[in-house]
Symmetry: C2
Subunit: 321 residues, 2 copies
């Protein structure tokens, strides 16, 4: 029997765990999601996930390895979750080993931002560039690095925390407890906070935005993207400012890492050119012409990058671990 | 004849070029300096440097390769200086090839900050840690990265420009033309500017500093270090603030690169604990405990790190290039 060139990719969030069978080219062959229900504990989760995957296998969906993407501080060498704000009580549990045992397959496990960047790197960039920096814009801001064509993890597996790099002094308060972090400006809560402030400051501004979301308590970055597309000047300004802060964080990485490409992932990136234009403008202004003209900016389009990256990494590294 | 285990290391500044013979353990066996005289052109410089090294060779100082450290944007693959503010008119000249031809030896060439970090990495850190970040504090602020125990150059050889990462919005004006760069706070001109402002603001403060340097036009960071050692509160506060900005830049790198160690090099680092204490305090406050407790802070002590790094890299890479 030839080796099966597909793996299961699992992206474990606080509410849902999205799972799929992904082939070696990054195509999603089959997909589903289950409730994570973190309070029932990691062993219960592993049992339910393994049951789903075994059922798929029984139905003929073959896969030779699995990859786990988890939001939090992951010890990818030991396969243990060190800390995750969304999966309380799972700290210290040998998640990778438990799933490997249940599936009787090699399993890899890493931080979800790392794996999303790996998935986007492997499927959305041509020619396998040598060095790539990725940022994930969601509720939080995360990131991942591909250096020398390999996922770079750092000395304790904690690399890529671009969301908590500081871009202003003293700066806005971040969820991490510090001030001035990129996430405090470009995480969804930072964007929404600035939008509410702008709306309060300009009682006649943002009319489209107010119509799209009359209850400002429910405001989300998606409303801003939608309003911006329809010409709302206030929404565009908030997104432009978001792009400005993302540009600072990314240009700091370009100066330090001199990459071939910069990937922007995550829901907020759907703001499209209202976000991308100010980043491109900032890059163009930089006096260091060589690294900034090398670093190609790209909005990643595939919303399944986390699962795909987990599965591809499992296919690539699963054997040896 | 056994292979010679020594190389020439040359650190080319705008005024002087410091040169030495360095053995494989990083020991400086012999040293001298010549005037760079950039206006006479790179070919003239190469001829004079080759004459000095040939004279040394004739006197029995053997070396099997040479390394060139240059302040500026260096294309280390092609051995060409792309841009250097201190060596006007040298851009585009194949400096590495010219020296190799004159010496009939393999020559490597790289940015001076990269090579100083490499020299400090190889001689001042125990156990060859895997990932190290280095910052050089001088007139300008530069840096270098050692990732996977190798000098990391990035995709166009421009990596490590930590001095121009942005730490504040809008921030002070930097020599590069942008605002808020780390260098605008921690480069010697930024430090001196803040010291003069503090002295103007506090006519009774900084008495020790004023005695050490009565003509404030001549003020240098060394005066601040000296005054701080003698209890001058104003000098200590300026250095503390400098440390705070250096801490932001370095902690951004720790978050992104998750290194084993952080090296601080250069003249300003002689401020010792007045500079180091605020950086350590800042690191201790960070909520990301694992990467920040891993990243050991170290002030590099050897002032010849640039020459030494150039020579060691020549011994290590010279053969293959």
């Amino acid at each position: 029997m030839p080796p099966i060139k597909a793996a299961a990719g699992i992206d474990v969030g606080g509410t849902f765990a999205k799972v799929g069978i992904i082939d070696a080219s990054g195509r999603l062959l089959r997909e589903d999601k289950i409730a994570t229900e973190p309070a029932r504990g990691p062993q219960d989760f592993v049992a339910r996930m393994a049951a789903l995957l075994s059922a798929w296998r029984a139905e003929g969906s073959a896969f030779s390895a699995a990859g786990l993407a988890i939001a939090g501080d992951v010890d990818s060498e030991k396969g243990i979750l060190r800390f995750s704000p969304n999966l309380e009580g799972w700290d210290g549990f040998p998640l990778r080993g438990a799933l490997a045992k249940a599936l009787r397959l090699p399993v890899v496990m890493d931080n979800d931002a790392n794996l999303a960047v790996w998935g986007a790197y492997r499927t959305e960039l041509k020619g396998k560039p040598e060095n790539v920096v990725g940022v994930t814009l969601g509720t939080g801001v995360g990131g991942g690095l591909v250096l020398g064509r390999r996922l770079y993890r750092g000395s304790t597996g904690s690399a890529g925390e671009i969301g908590h790099t500081r871009v202003e002094v003293p700066g806005e308060l971040c969820h991490c407890g510090m001030r001035g972090c990129l996430e405090a400006y470009a995480g969804s809560y930072g964007i929404v906070r600035r939008a509410r402030l702008a709306l309060a400051r300009e009682p006649r501004g943002g009319s489209r935005l107010r119509r799209l979301c009359p209850d400002l308590k429910l405001l989300e970055p998606a409303h801003l993207s939608e309003a911006a597309r329809h010409g709302d000047a206030l929404a565009r300004e908030v997104l432009r400012e978001t792009g400005f802060y993302v540009a600072i964080g990314l240009s700091n990485l370009v100066l330090v890492l001199n990459p071939d490409a910069v990937l922007i992932l995550g829901g907020v990136s759907r703001a499209g050119r209202w976000l991308l234009d100010p980043i491109e403008a900032y890059f163009k202004k930089q006096p260091f012409k060589v690294p900034f003209s090398r670093a190609k900016l790209k909005l990643a389009e595939n919303p399944n990058a986390g699962r795909i990256g987990a599965a591809l990494l499992a296919l690539e590294e699963g054997r040896g671990r």
